[in-house]
Symmetry: C2
Subunit: 424 residues, 2 copies
């Protein structure tokens, strides 16, 4: 037995060595001139995702938006070469286990400012540790200002896929010309006692996340995305390809936490939505999820929405006719500035009206934290199987202020055992 095992191990080591060499050389072809514009290899199924290609294109990505004269380019190149050497560790999650793994056409996306760096780092480390170190999807970072080289160097060292850094076009982060900025300023004054009520940048962010991130040039080649925000955490190992799950199960929108909105921030969102629907009834999906967002068949909005700081979705829906028309209607209504419409209710209402409800999915097994709320699976088997590091007693999912109970009720799903113990 020992002998057999020895021989097999020798054979394996030899085989893996060959594959390692082949993957290395087959990837030596240079990546496209600008690393930030290369079509994601996920869709091409090529091996350009292996580490060798990674650090070439990572270099490109950074240089594409960073200054070569910057002092930390040397750190960066030193990182690149060092990174290769750590990849030789026998225990490193090896690309060559499946060099041709067909990733989905998908990317992570994080909207961040340079000053968010150290709040974003643990969030990204968490997603890499719990999921992406196994699947190595790309990561797109967007900012209304150019990213610092420190930001790009740290992020590129952390993410296992290709890191891409983009600038948000001015027109996607400013007042549209039809907005009365005095009226908008008055709103901010009037709303100063409501969370973010007095903030301009928060409103630009909500508008950008509602209508523009999926139009950014770095996002053009991707179909699915997973949104990650600073100061968030994944609690459990995610031992399946979330993007593959979305495609194979025909899902267009996935969430982990749902919650009620502050009514004061969206006073006319529902009336505007009703106007839009009255004028465009053809966009409303059969078997839609209206009963998740309204308790009286659409007369009023019950304030339920998916918390978009975690969001896995199909951008074809945002880019499609129904959502584009809906967003244009909201843009003209001006509520992003005359009130404080969030991208969460906007995404949630659109998904609930214009998608069949079975396209919307709750990731029960993805433990997640965004202050102050925890989604901690209350099912012991799920927690143990996925090494969740959360306290089920902290779970928000089944509490009254959450809307996930309604999600189960409207879909007619069986709630996990003991959910009643987590209400209140």
């Amino acid at each position: 037995m020992a002998k057999v095992s020895d021989r097999v191990v020798r054979l394996a080591v030899f085989t893996l060595l060959i594959i390692g060499l082949i993957t290395f050389f087959s990837s030596s072809s240079p990546s496209a001139p600008s690393g930030t514009y290369t079509k994601p290899s996920s869709s091409s199924g090529s091996s350009s995702k292996d580490k060798a290609a990674d650090f070439i294109s990572k270099g490109d990505s950074v240089k594409a938006s960073g200054s070569d004269s910057d002092s930390s380019n040397s750190l960066f190149s030193s990182f690149s070469s060092s990174s290769k050497s750590t990849d030789k560790l026998p225990f490193d999650v090896p690309d060559y286990i499946d060099p041709n793994y067909a990733r989905e056409n998908a990317t992570f996306i994080s909207l961040a400012r340079n000053e968010d760096l150290w709040e974003l780092v643990p969030a990204i480390r968490s997603v890499e540790d719990r999921f992406n170190s196994k699947y190595k999807y790309d990561w797109v970072f967007l900012n209304e200002e150019p990213f610092s080289v420190e930001f790009k160097t740290v992020m590129t060292s952390l993410v296992s896929g290709e890191a891409k850094f983009g600038l948000i076009p001015k027109e996607h982060w400013s007042f549209p010309d039809w907005i009365d900025t005095d009226k908008a300023a008055q709103t901010r004054e009037d709303m100063k006692n409501i969370i973010y009520g007095s903030s301009i940048s928060y409103r630009h962010m909500c508008r950008f996340e509602s209508g523009f991130f999926f139009h950014h040039e770095l996002m053009q080649n991707y179909k699915y995305y997973w949104r990650v925000e600073p100061s968030t955490k994944l609690y459990c190992d995610v031992n399946f390809d979330v993007f593959k799950f979305m495609r194979e199960n025909n899902k267009d929108y996935g969430f982990t936490i749902s919650i009620h909105e502050f009514e004061a921030t969206i006073k006319t969102l529902w009336s505007e939505t009703k106007k839009f629907v009255a004028a465009n009834p053809q966009y409303v999906a059969e078997d839609n999820f209206m009963n998740f967002i309204s308790d009286n068949n659409g007369e009023t909005y019950n304030l339920c929405h998916f918390w978009t700081n975690f969001e896995v979705a199909n951008m074809d829906f945002w880019r499609g006719e129904a959502y584009q028309a809906y967003f244009q209607h909201l843009e003209k209504a001006g509520g992003f500035f005359y009130e404080r419409w969030g991208d969460a209710p906007v995404h949630s209402i659109a998904a609930s009206l214009f998608l069949p409800q079975d396209r919307i999915h709750f990731f029960e097994e993805i433990g997640y934290f965004h202050g102050p709320y925890h989604h901690c699976p209350i099912n012991d088997e799920i927690r143990n199987k996925n090494k969740c590091m959360c306290k089920p007693g902290d779970d928000f999912t089944w509490q009254d202020y959450s809307c996930t109970r309604k999600y189960y009720d409207v879909k007619g799903l069986a709630k996990p055992l003991g959910w009643e113990k987590h209400t209140g």
Copy 2:
């Protein structure tokens, strides 16, 4: 090329399948009756470390100290079986890459109470993510009270090696009979304005960590340990086998943070140490590290010590004649109770006097946090190579209250570039 690669991949998959099967069946032999007493497979080089054996012996470990009638045994078994299924993932760090990897005779050790569970969980997840998921060393948990089944279930699901849970014998966590408990009580009253000055349990803990943890039956079969405390963090990937490094480089004591002690807690520790050394000069090592702990060749103690909340060391030293005699001297002197001697100065003074200085090692590349101090490598290449998620500006290592500058000076080592920028 594509054809070759395909053929090789097919060959590899086939090979790995065979190895997988062999490792599985070769491990089906049951582990020793009580999982908590099995000799660590690290030293035996057997394959009992693979997942199949893991979850058998993990089960034993828990049952060994847990009640079978407990409701959560079912959770536990459900975790075990589920755990195996996740191990089949192609991207899971695969044991079969090197089924015969010879671990060192080493274990992690965490002293914890049941109520520490949720502070310890992220600390353990951090060590597993940054290091142990690759090497799968065992983990020993010690408590002065029996561990709850919740504690054992959660920890067993988190650690990749075998989890062992032990009870601390009463005589290792109580007043020795020669201690005047009234005098000890008076000390706690007098010291109530000093951190932990009024605490009994803190003193039992310091005494236990100074003189007894390495005598616990669960530690008997191990030589090296890595101590992990609640609410600590590793900042960087540790891409080498720390225990193998210790053995191969003949190191007996490793640290990440050094610092000055509160003088009020150890008023007579140095005079007692001098008495002991005067009576036992034979224990003092040639080429010792005296100049790290004293600025006047031993006349006074400079309060420098290694921060033992992180500690990687060789228990043969603690179990050896010199340390045993030193600890007995300190026990009789009674300073663990009549003052508030910490295990940090006790370990540090002993290592500095009774070990040649080259047996003591600073792990520069292991980024570490224990509130309020960070060890964040200031060397950019180290941080990038190891995906450190810390802010070099937070580093404590080169500040005045740290003793690591002295460590470099006494050893005559070159400090990392730019260390002066991190002083103050």
